[in-house]
């Protein structure tokens, strides 16, 4: 039986019990939707004692389904005020699963200044230990210290100083499989800041001496179905650019189509996307000793991650991804992968969301406070954020707060969360997604760039609501089970192999129709929660400038109506 571990951060009690019956088929995002709905008051102050955060594994955790070990973190978001599910790869979910833990909850809030670490030892015992000298360390230093103390095979889920400072752009770092760099972040929505209010610096796990094996109702059928999925994933990975290059393969298409954001989403075609392109990226890796084809979790057959070295040939950062390159690179007119890698490293150390940070810097540059393309000035501002100067603390509040303070006219956020690396005028399905996502502007709610057939013009609204809905309706299930990038390798036909796995695991009927219903339920639960939290259709809107300002790359404006957008979440 999977376990639920509940840590009360005020009383320091640790309770361990079987997972609720109701939660048996839930994992990852679906579990978070239900848990937050059940236990977190939608009207609570997200940085107050009534917010709870849950770390959980997916529905296939503990099995050999490839990419089954994403870690999902959920709560009411300090940044958006909506429900939030933020996920990351790395070793965290694998270790939790091996310890038999489906969900680990941090609730309440300490009344003293004491900081703790949640320790899970080789015997799967969960305890709270003083954070001691871990406090005040950034994520890489936390991991180095944990390795020194517990050995190289330790798994660390941690917050950097940003989380200690309760920043709303703070994320939660997870050590990557292999080298253990803390480069996988559950970045969005300020959950690192929430962990900071609970005064928990990290969850440090040793490898389980006795690995938990989940009960499988029909082992033979299960084995067969898993083999089909893994085979399809491996085959897909052979040809998918997401696997063969990494997520930065997206730049090759987004650049020329005017989807790659330029200068705070001004709608131009980037004048130098070549410098950020997959070609340049691969050349840098090859010539400096870095590599791609890195799997961030054990057993991954897609291996989309990378290790990036600087010009000096030394390690600079890991997991340099498209969103970072888009928001901290093209969006800032910093058309230099090395400078972007530097920003990426800083963000992983300090523990902040590169999308939010990139959007914040873009708004700042747009007001003229620092110049476009000035990576040095950008790094200086990031250091202010780290030091906690007055402006630095404001940056920690997120893009919208900074934009409002500076009187910016163009603030690219929805529900206070920054939009991702796709200009919504030129990929309208993503514009719809940013507006309608239950998580605030979150491209992964329905990551549709490249999903429509190539004859479709994504800067025309035709077909866009359909593809936004299709992907949203699959993604909620994916976020509860495997990795979204793996779906990129599997393709939409490959997803049809997943219901069979769940069916065999639990000895139930589970078809694609059931998958759609499962996904719909997750989204509708999230919507209901947000409604109870005070959100209305007025909040499901993009910033006005996307409708008013013509994109010079294509002549398009964002022109989806409220009715057209709301229709995508009408599942019944």
């Amino acid at each position: 039986m999977w376990k639920s571990v509940r840590v009360n951060t005020r009383t320091c009690s640790v309770a361990r019990e079987d997972i609720k019956d109701d939660y048996k088929l839930l994992g990852g995002r679906s579990l978070i939707a239900q848990f937050v709905m059940d236990e977190v008051d939608p009207r609570c102050d997200p940085l107050g004692r009534d917010n709870k955060m849950v770390f959980c594994t997916g529905i296939f955790a503990g099995t050999s389904v490839s990419t089954a070990h994403r870690l999902s973190v959920g709560a009411k978001s300090p940044l958006t005020g909506t429900i939030k599910e933020s996920n990351a790869g790395g070793t965290g979910a694998t270790y939790l699963a091996n310890h038999g833990i489906r969900m680990l909850v941090l609730e309440d809030m300490p009344e003293t200044d004491d900081w703790k670490i949640v320790r899970i030892d080789a015997n799967s015992e969960v305890s709270l230990i003083p954070a001691g000298d871990y406090l005040g360390l950034d994520n890489y230093a936390v991991v180095d210290k944990a390795k020194a103390e517990y050995g190289d095979n330790v798994s660390v889920i941690s917050i950097g100083k940003s989380g200690e400072m309760q920043y709303k752009n703070a994320g939660i770092a997870v050590t990557e499989f292999g080298k253990g760099h803390p480069c996988r972040l559950a970045a969005r929505g300020g959950l690192g800041g929430l962990m900071g209010t609970k005064q928990v610096k990290a969850i440090i796990m040793e490898q389980a001496a006795q690995k938990y094996k989940p009960e499988i109702a029909d082992p033979d059928a299960f084995k067969e179905k898993v083999l089909l999925v893994n085979k399809a994933m491996a085959e897909g990975a052979n040809t998918s650019p997401l696997a063969q290059i990494g997520t930065n393969s997206i730049t090759a298409a987004s650049g020329p189509q005017g989807v790659l954001p330029v200068k705070n989403f001004n709608g131009e075609l980037s004048k130098n996307y070549e410098a950020l392109s997959p070609t340049t990226f691969m050349e840098n890796l090859a010539s400096r000793g870095g590599k791609n084809r890195v799997g961030c979790q054990a057993g991954c057959l897609v291996k989309c991650s990378n290790i990036y070295h600087g010009k000096d040939g030394k390690y600079l950062t890991a997991s340099l991804e498209y969103e970072t390159i888009a928001l901290c690179g093209a969006n800032l007119d910093i058309n230099d992968l090395d400078r972007v890698a530097e920003i990426d490293r800083f963000c992983d150390e300090f523990g902040v969301d590169t999308i939010e940070v990139g959007a914040t810097l873009g708004v700042i540059m747009d007001t003229g406070k620092i110049a476009w393309g000035d990576a040095d000035a950008a790094m200086d501002l990031l250091k202010e954020m780290e030091e906690g100067t007055e402006f630095g603390r404001l940056m920690g509040e997120g893009t919208e707060a900074v934009g409002n303070y500076l009187g910016a006219k163009r603030i690219p956020t929805v529900k206070k969360q920054a939009i991702a690396g796709y200009d919504p005028r030129n990929c309208k399905s993503l514009g719809i997604t940013y507006a309608m996502s239950t998580q605030g502007a979150d491209h992964t709610f329905s990551s549709s760039f490249g999903a429509a057939p190539s004859i479709i013009d994504n800067s025309n609204k035709f077909f866009q609501p359909y593809i936004a809905q299709l992907l949203a309706n699959l993604t909620a299930f994916v976020d509860s089970s495997i990795c979204l990038i793996a779906v990129g390798a599997l393709g939409l036909p490959g997803i049809e192999l997943l219901p069979g796995v769940l069916a065999a695991m639990h000895g139930i009927e589970f078809t694609m129709e059931d998958l759609a219903a499962y996904s719909a339920k997750v989204i509708l639960t999230e919507r209901a929660y947000n409604k109870a939290a005070g959100f209305t259709v007025e909040d499901d809107k993009l910033p006005q400038f996307f409708s008013d300002e013509v994109s010079k790359a294509t002549g398009a404006v964002f022109d989806l109506t409220e009715e057209e957008m709301q229709a995508i979440l009408k599942f019944v």
Binding site: E268, T554, G555, V557
Partner: protein, 387 residues
């Protein structure tokens, strides 16, 4: 009768569609283009944003901005040489009929030897044409949709045609109302009457092909509905877009049904008296309708009348149909501020010279029932009475 439609030039239309030229040029495989335009569109500020947009899509740009109205053959030869020297792999034409025609002729010379005047119709060019994009700025000659171009033979001063379904065919028309909005009311009206005459003539053409019929009727209705709005407000973008589309489809129908007697007359009146083309072809329309077109095909004359708002009871004679339709056209004509023939006070002697050429015009072979010189004289006499 058995007829065949011609390929239709694809149209990318909408506000700010000119900002997609770069992406579209790339889709067509262009990497280095010759941008053809004239001083007028350059000064109107239309050319630079298009060049900027092409360059943003990493397309190299070579410019040829020397086009003059009724482009002479040596201008085409110069453009062709530039295109070949620079090894361009695409052509972008921004402007009215003269520019669009000049670019078509330049296309010939990228695969066929110069000078262009050896390629006047009926010569057939060989080889593979370059892809071309038209960005029309007048609505208009419809050159963006037609497979012919008019080039002046400098040796004789006579306008000649080149005609080819490959070398004269634009791969794409970009129809952006912003490109048309700068044209003042009077020239806009003249250009729209070119659309009307293409369309109405084609309904009385010997070649009676159904797509062209559909285009003609649509174009007439749209011009009647939207031209007054354009005259009232040049920035009525919806109206500009509708007339632009009408011009383009009226250009397409030139590939099958062709224009007719308004052009036989208008070409030559226009040439002798240096009148704008749109005005020259508009002048004979009412009289031709009353005296000839309505007799050739009364049902079509009725259809045209209906497009101009005439309500027929169904009991009218052929003459009455001609009168009602002709009067409706004349009223529209005057409401649009177009000068009447009598107001122009054209010199009789020169008029005779124009009439001499009407039976031997480019469009003469394609007219429905051949008109004699005296037939044309009767039309002119009728035109003089219109007030």
């Amino acid at each position: 009768m058995i007829s065949q439609s011609a390929p239709i030039v694809p149209v990318l239309s909408g506000m700010n569609s000119h900002l997609r030229v770069g992406i579209k040029a790339k889709e067509l495989g262009m990497t280095k283009v010759l941008v053809v335009y004239d001083a007028g569109v350059l000064n109107a500020g239309i050319v630079d944003p298009v060049i900027e947009n092409l360059k943003a899509s990493r397309i190299d740009v070579v410019t040829f901005g020397k086009v003059t109205p009724d482009p002479p053959d040596y201008q085409v030869d110069e453009g062709g040489k530039l295109a070949n020297d620079e090894k361009v792999d695409g052509l972008i034409a921004i402007g009215g009929g003269s520019v669009l025609d000049c670019a078509k002729a330049i296309n010939y010379l990228t695969a066929n030897p110069s000078p262009i005047n050896q390629w006047f119709f009926p010569a057939i060019p060989q080889g593979k044409p370059l892809p071309m994009i038209a960005i029309p700025t007048t609505a208009g000659t419809g050159s963006e949709g037609s497979f012919a171009a008019v080039i002046t033979d400098s040796a004789t001063g006579i306008k000649k045609a080149i005609l080819d379904g490959n070398f004269c065919r634009y791969s794409l028309t970009v129809s952006d109302p912003l490109m048309y909005a700068g044209l003042p009311a009077k020239p806009s009206a003249y250009c729209a009457f070119d659309v009307l005459t293409h369309s109405i003539d084609s309904l009385f053409s010997a070649y009676d092909e159904p797509y062209s019929h559909m285009f003609a009727e649509t174009a007439v209705r749209k011009v009647v509905k939207y031209l007054p709005r354009v005259i009232a407000n040049g920035n009525d973008y919806e109206a500009r877009q509708e007339i632009a589309f009408s011009a383009t489809i009226a250009g397409n129908l030139l590939n099958t049904n062709m224009a007719g007697n308004t052009h036989c007359m208008g070409h030559n009146i226009g040439a002798v008296f240096h009148l704008p083309h749109g005005l020259a072809v508009a002048l004979p329309l009412v009289s031709l309708m009353k005296l000839f077109y309505s007799k050739w095909r009364p049902e079509r004359a009725k259809l045209v009348g209906e497009c101009f708002g005439v309500h027929f009871s169904g009991t009218e004679t052929v003459e009455e149909i001609g009168e009602l339709t002709g009067n409706a056209i004349f009223k529209f004509y005057k409401d649009c501020g177009i000068e009447t023939f009598s107001e122009l006070e054209l010199n009789e002697e020169d008029l005779e010279k124009a009439i001499d050429k009407m039976t031997d015009d480019i469009q003469t072979p394609t007219t429905y029932i051949l008109m004699s010189r005296s037939d044309y004289v009767s039309v002119i006499e009728h035109m003089k009475t219109l007030r």
